[in-house]
Symmetry: C2
Subunit: 78 residues, 2 copies
């Protein structure tokens, strides 16, 4: 997997997370408070800056009321 | 999410990965060589010792020929 593909993967994950969050009408601050994931980190995740790990993926999914795999249902092939 | 729940999550992810790997008849060494994920790290992932991050989750899924979300289809609720 190339660096560009990794960047694209993080970007898609961030977009997916933001999309699910917005579908609930939640702000980043609200998701941060509910999930315990720091607001500044969460912002970076949504902008594709972080290589988010299993525990935070599942923590965010649980908070949003979806299964962890729903956050990895990234559109299209890399 | 409690420490025990995080441990359980990592454990289930490791079991899921090992199950998919074995279904292809692959050794850890083979998956390591094909994916570029270090053999010692991969062993730790399968034993639930690591909080594997997005890029490695997707790298392993790609190598195993499954979608990333297939690796997060963990049985049962936490």
């Amino acid at each position: 997997m190339t660096d560009a593909e990794q960047t694209e993967l993080r970007r898609r994950f961030g977009l997916r997370l933001a999309s699910l969050r917005k579908s609930l009408g939640w702000s980043q601050e609200q998701l941060s408070l509910e999930s315990g994931v720091a607001r500044s980190y969460l912002g970076g995740v949504e902008r594709g800056r972080h290589n988010t790990a299993l525990v935070n993926i599942c923590r965010l999914a649980e908070t949003l009321g979806v299964k962890p795999y729903a956050l990895l249902d990234l559109d299209g092939e890399l």
